[in-house]
């Protein structure tokens, strides 16, 4: 026996309206996910199923069809909103609200709307079974958190980034030199900068800890001809050239 009620249509309509309100008024990701994700995956498709009058005989069947119909509604929405030049968060919320409301209205008006499928017989959980499932969820979530932290912590390559660019502020007559460390130990560096082969600046004993970024803007004479600036990074510890970069200084 199915469930003859049409109250689900009201719930769908209100859900869609609440989603529009949440998208318009809130930046809270939790609230918006709680309302928005079911709109994309289920609620709109459920209303469409009811509007078409497709009869489903089990909850699994209803859910599977509703997900499929929701996908169809979402995909159609993408094209419609693109045509209306309204592919924005509010555009999406309005689209799903419109689809859900229109489908719910059709389903509410028609007389032969099929009953909802009956819920499966309730299964009794014992305490230990519930505890075991909770523990399983805890272990799986913990394992995922472990995977995330392990991915962030482990780096196969240890390296130091070194760069030389025309000024990031866009000013002519300046160049930017930078160092960023992805090493495992703090390191000291010396930097030498030349302009067309002539010494321009020397920066000694720059201490960089792992994860740190060091940058410096260096003034250069602005000329009408093209000049090449070159920067060399030395490690005083072993007195060797570690990195070398260059840039073309913009003409005035």
């Amino acid at each position: 026996m199915g469930i003859p009620s049409k109250r689900d249509l009201w719930v769908a309509f209100l859900w869609a309206a609440a989603t529009v309100a949440a998208v318009a008024l809130s930046d809270n990701v939790f609230l918006r996910t709680l309302l928005g994700a079911p709109m994309v995956f289920l609620v709109s498709g459920h209303s469409i199923l009811r509007a078409i009058g497709v009869r489903t005989t089990s909850v699994l069947q209803h859910l599977a069809y509703a997900v499929g119909a929701s996908f169809a509604a979402g995909i159609a929405g993408g094209f419609a909103l693109n045509a209306a030049d309204y592919l924005t968060p509010l555009g999406w919320a309005a689209w799903f609200w419109a689809v859900t409301a229109a489908a719910a209205l059709v389903a509410a008006i028609r007389r032969d709307t099929p009953d909802l499928p009956a819920w499966p017989a309730r299964t009794r959980f014992r305490l230990w079974q519930g505890a075991a499932i909770l523990l399983a969820m805890f272990v799986a979530t913990g394992a995922y958190a472990l995977a995330v932290s392990d991915e962030a912590a482990y780096r196969e390559f240890k390296y130091t980034e070194f760069w030389l660019l025309p000024s990031i502020s866009g000013e002519s007559g300046r160049i930017t030199v930078g160092i960023r460390s992805a090493e495992t130990q703090p390191q000291n560096f010396d930097v030498e900068i030349t302009l067309d082969g002539q010494p321009l600046a020397v920066l000694r004993s720059i201490a960089i800890a792992p994860g740190d970024t060091w940058t410096r803007e260096v003034p250069v004479p602005a000329l009408a001809t093209r000049q090449t600036a070159e920067a060399r990074l030395y490690r005083p510890g072993d007195n060797r050239l570690y990195r070398s970069v260059s840039t073309l200084v913009p003409r005035i």
């Binding site: 699994l60 169809a72 799986a140 995922y144 962030a152 390559f157 980034e161 070194f162």
Partner: protein
């Protein structure tokens, strides 16, 4: 089975060896369904088993995570951890699902648990981002859509992608409505897709076989498909396409929608799903068109059904929709599908024919296959042998299920099929579809046809799952099996699922960096360099580089990456030669490329997948030379603006007088 064979052998006093042999083979592969019924009396789901298996699966996932962690560090114990995790995940759950007396609800619950757990295993390879090459392509396309708020933007890395934007549309809808990040929204979508796929496949097979047990085992066997674990779980259009495809089949075949007005209403839903499929994925849409076309053909051939006229009309209309909608979409968008898929299919067919006929094989066939661990190969091979055994013992039984006299033990049901008398055309079609497995395997044995064989498997395994499940239920287990017949077939199914994991990738465990090996080449240094580019050079610069760094620059760096320097000049030409020839120099100088990114790790080993820049390149058996990649140091007008010891970025704007 032994009892049945004994009956055959004791039936007569003297039997010639030939006749005995024929009877023996007939008893094994013949259409005997042993009375027809497949399911034990209905039972209640056991929450105890679900709880215990949930805990087992969680422990298994912890081992898998540990395996990836060990793999990242290059520890030798990584395969041990990973494999023990996957075995612990698959074997107990598969045993319970395939157990003859398990309740329908419990089978379903465990199927969802297993499929989502396998997705979890895939996801923890790269838990905070996407990992596969195709995933990056769709990730970039979705970022473009979210940024520009417009569809059909061009994508040089994936020219056909923007014309099938359904996945990107749905992900954008989730991102916009929820405020979640793109990766989280995409992952949430994939979780739902995985569950929907298993639910829809179960419903589809249950509606045509009438047996939850056969359906559940068929779903389990489907997980042994080489694309289930990785390819169809990736953030890519086929993952949505196959779900829409199977959902369409399930709606069309549902018994509550097969008569009268219900049929027309369900046709409305089928139409919606087919229209969505047409704009989602070309191959899935093509498969749906082939399926419904063949179904209409079988309905036209079929005799002896009082409802056949109505059935014919509806199935024919569905077939017209399934064929016309993708075709119209292609015509409207001007999709060059033949140019996109034609060369791949042509090369695959040529390679396969050359192999069969013993002719001189094409150049592509001289490539060495990428190295794969022996235990992975052995698992795949064992799974394949078990599948072959299942197909051999299940093929005629599956056909017999479709025959009006399916319960008989002789060959009468097969005769009826030949006389075009069957109850359900879908069952006949899926059984015939299982023939695709040997074809798919044959393609996979060639380098050029590997891609075709792999993609075919996604669809062929729907039939394979059905036939193998019928074989297990009606031959290997029977209705109430005892002893080894309870456990051995269920274990065989578990091995088939393990084979699916083993055949999914060259190395499913996260390992150390390897050159040009798609997801195995993506690691933090490349990602950080791409982020540096975005931070210090801004978005939208025109970049070119090798295949992997191009992806990272587009995804993390939001750069405008180019596969070609200019028309007719591939990026590979300027990177591979030790000196920049005049043609290449003038091509670069005359192009609008702003920056080149050079990765010296390409000099450490030959490319694992054969090419550093594009798959259509000539296979490279040697690593690139350092001199080739560093030649830009000595070119007037080119500045090396970034250097991290491995990766260098060259500013080439000076070549076009525009520094």
């Amino acid at each position: 089975m032994m009892l049945m064979m004994a009956a055959h052998f004791t039936a007569g006093t003297r039997i010639s060896p030939l006749k005995a042999g024929i009877r023996f083979i007939s008893a094994i592969i013949g259409p005997d369904l042993r009375g027809g019924s497949a399911d034990a009396p209905p039972q209640r789901a056991s929450c105890g088993w679900i709880a215990i298996l949930g805990l087992t699966v969680a422990t298994a996932l912890l081992l898998v995570v540990a395996g990836h962690g060990a793999g990242r560090r290059g520890y030798e114990m990584a395969p041990l951890l990973f494999c023990s995790g996957v075995i612990l995940l698959v074997v107990p759950t598969s045993l319970r699902i395939a157990w003859p007396t398990t309740a329908r609800g419990e089978r379903l619950c465990l199927l969802f648990l297993l499929s989502e757990a396998l997705f979890y295993c895939k996801k923890v390879y790269s838990p905070t981002s996407f990992s596969g090459y195709d995933e990056y392509l769709h990730w970039i396309a979705t970022q473009d859509l979210i940024t520009a708020r417009r569809l059909f933007l061009s994508n040089p890395l994936f020219p056909i992608g923007p014309t099938y934007p359904a996945l990107e549309i749905l992900t954008t809808a989730i991102v916009d409505l929820t405020g979640l990040s793109l990766v989280v929204a995409g992952t949430l979508l994939l979780v739902i897709l995985k569950g929907t796929f298993i639910g829809a496949l179960f419903l589809f097979l249950e509606s045509i076989t009438g047996s939850p047990r056969i359906s559940a085992i068929a779903c389990l066997v489907y997980m042994g498909c080489s694309t289930f674990f990785l390819f169809d779980s990736s953030f890519s259009y086929q993952s949505l396409g196959i779900v829409l495809c199977v959902l369409t089949f399930a709606v069309e075949a549902a018994p509550n929608n097969l008569v009268g007005l219900s049929r027309l209403k369900s046709l409305g839903l089928v139409g919606l799903l087919l229209a969505s499929l047409a704009v989602t994925h070309h191959l899935s849409a093509a498969f749906a068109a082939i399926y419904f076309g063949a179904l209409a053909g079988l309905e036209a051939l079929r005799r002896h059904d009082p409802l056949r006229f109505e059935a014919r009309i509806v199935v024919s209309f569905t077939a017209i929709l399934a064929i016309a909608l993708p075709f119209l979409w292609m015509q409207w968008r001007g999709i060059p599908l033949a140019a996109y898929l034609g060369p791949v299919i042509g090369a695959g067919l040529n390679a396969l024919l050359a192999k069969i006929l013993g002719a001189a094989s094409p150049m592509s066939e001289h490539l060495g296959a990428p190295d794969k661990a022996l235990y992975l190969r052995l698992t795949t091979l064992t799974a394949l042998l078990l599948l072959a055994l299942g197909l051999a013992t299940g093929f005629f039984r599956s056909l017999a299920m479709a025959a009006p006299s399916g319960g008989r033990s002789d060959w009468r049901p097969i005769q009826e099929i030949f006389q075009r008398r069957w109850r359900d055309s879908r069952l006949v079609l899926l059984t015939l579809l299982a023939f695709g497995l040997p074809v798919s395997v044959a393609f996979r044995l060639t380098s050029a046809g590997w891609e075709i064989g792999n993609r075919m498997a996604t669809f062929v395994f729907i039939g394979v799952g059905l036939v193998v499940a019928v074989s297990i239920v009606h031959f290997w287990q029977g209705r109430t099996p005892r002893g080894w017949r309870r456990i051995a077939p269920a274990l065989a199914v578990a091995v088939i699922v393990l084979g699916g994991v083993a055949s999914a990738a060259i190395n499913p465990i996260h390992g150390r960096y390897r050159v040009a090996a798609d997801q195995e080449s993506i690691e933090p240094m490349g990602i950080e360099t791409a982020r540096w580019v975005r931070e210090w050079l801004g978005a939208g610069n025109r970049f070119t580089s090798d295949r992997i760094n191009r992806l990272l620059l587009a995804a993390y760096g939001r750069q405008d990456v180019r596969v070609r320097i200019k028309t007719g000049v591939d990026a590979a030409r300027i990177f591979e030669a030790e000196n920049l020839g005049a043609d290449e120099f003038w091509a670069l100088a005359g192009s609008d490329i702003d920056f080149l990114l050079v990765d010296l790790r390409l000099t450490t080993a030959p490319p694992v997948l054969g090419s550093n820049f594009q798959p259509w390149q000539r296979h490279q058996e040697k690593p690139l030379s350092g001199a080739a990649l560093l030649k830009f140091n000595h070119i007037q007008g080119v500045a090396r603006i970034y250097d991290n010891g491995w990766i260098m970025i060259y500013d080439v704007r000076g070549l076009h007088g525009n520094p």
